[in-house]
Symmetry: C2
Subunit: 237 residues, 2 copies
């Protein structure tokens, strides 16, 4: 399994060089700036040569998106790992790591978590399989919120209501994370993830400029409010 041949080494090296150049173009000029000709030009090649490595421009962008998903997942997981054993501390660390990466890499964030480009739609569609990057990315959040639930049962909407209205539509999540996840955990995870995503993506996409001059302050306030739900501390002033 070791000893990659010289050809293989050259091939993977070219492959990553193409993706690196694509990312550079993404960062400097937005998603539409990623072009085979520009990549090839920058690499001292001609555009058709790239077809030896990717079936199309869309396939290249899709591969790049997969890499970025993994990069972000690893950063979030590392933040959790470095945060000690307390689930609440872990959630705070993961949320902050997610925001920091997103704000530092707006173009990358837009590619994997923004409006799906027509070419990236197929990538989204393939979310059915359990080892899709999206499921993998959500896992540490889910596990932490589950650990928290085992420790103390934080408030949620009434269980009866969730069982009646929500339970039937959670089979994709449960098939990816195990059938045994309590519905309160599923809800808390989805609720928290959508809040985190909404806040961060609005900041990254500049949809908050008209309201807030320092989105980081709003983020910390929201994080405080969200975590308060778990610590049981009253929010009354």
């Amino acid at each position: 399994m070791s000893a990659p041949t010289r050809r293989e080494r050259l091939r993977t090296s070219t492959l990553t060089e193409i993706k690196d150049e694509a990312r550079r173009l993404l960062v400097t000029g937005g998603p539409d700036a990623i072009s085979l000709r520009a990549i090839a030009r920058e690499m001292g090649m001609t555009a058709p040569a790239i077809y030896r490595y990717f079936d199309s421009l869309d396939a290249l962008v899709e591969a790049l998106a997969g890499d970025l998903y993994i990069e972000l997942s690893e950063i979030v997981s590392a933040a959790k790992h470095d945060a000690g054993d307390d689930p609440v501390t872990q959630i705070i660390a993961m949320a902050r790591a997610f925001r920091e990466w997103s704000v530092a890499h707006p173009a990358e964030f837009a590619l994997i978590l923004g409006s799906p480009l027509p070419g990236i739609v197929a990538f989204q569609e393939s979310c059915d399989d359990a080892d899709h990057p999206g499921v993998e990315f959500g896992r540490p959040f889910m596990e932490t919120i589950n650990a928290l639930w085992l420790r103390e049962q934080y408030p949620t909407p009434p269980r009866s209501l969730m069982e009646e209205r929500l339970a039937a539509h959670l089979e994709p999540l449960r098939s990816g994370h195990g059938e045994e996840v309590p519905i309160e955990v599923a809800w808390a995870f989805l609720s928290g993830w959508t809040r985190l995503y909404g806040l961060v993506s609005m900041e990254v996409f500049h949809h908050l400029r008209w309201a807030v001059s320092d989105p980081g302050a709003l983020f910390e306030m929201e994080l405080h409010s969200y975590v308060g739900q778990f610590t049981g501390r009253s929010d009354k002033s």
Copy 2:
């Protein structure tokens, strides 16, 4: 001020035909499918003729985005108006109207509320002026949450904490909606809006497919949870 000349009538008619065709292309083929040549082809014209009406493709897309913002704002305002006098009912109606329009018009949603395309960035930048579509869009939400606050003081993070950490960064919002808005209202508005946006945009962008088969059920559950914060009903199961 009335009596537009014949020339003017023809001009505005062509202008809206161009934007209509651009929207049709947006819906059928995504943002990148909007092309001057395709629009002109469909209209029985040649592409350079469009430059009599718009300075560039970007300017056209920007104008279309402005129209869509107004369309969405009017729909949300109408929903509030039709919802009677109770602020809580109004909030529910506005949130549902927002989601329904977004789900029914994913391409339009992506254009105005998704990742900012390089060309649309200038549109976002101009959010400083108080009559920007974004401020106008947020107004009915803000007013309703304010009315609610006057009726009963719902729970928020501690006022002292918000004054210390958040107040200094809210001047853009306050300059658009009046200085007198209490910080609790500003927080409740921003918190609610980011939650609504996060949930809806994840649904529209198919970022929830891996977890939930019917995002509408999750939406109603979240709405229930968010509104519960105002009605003071306990969320314990």
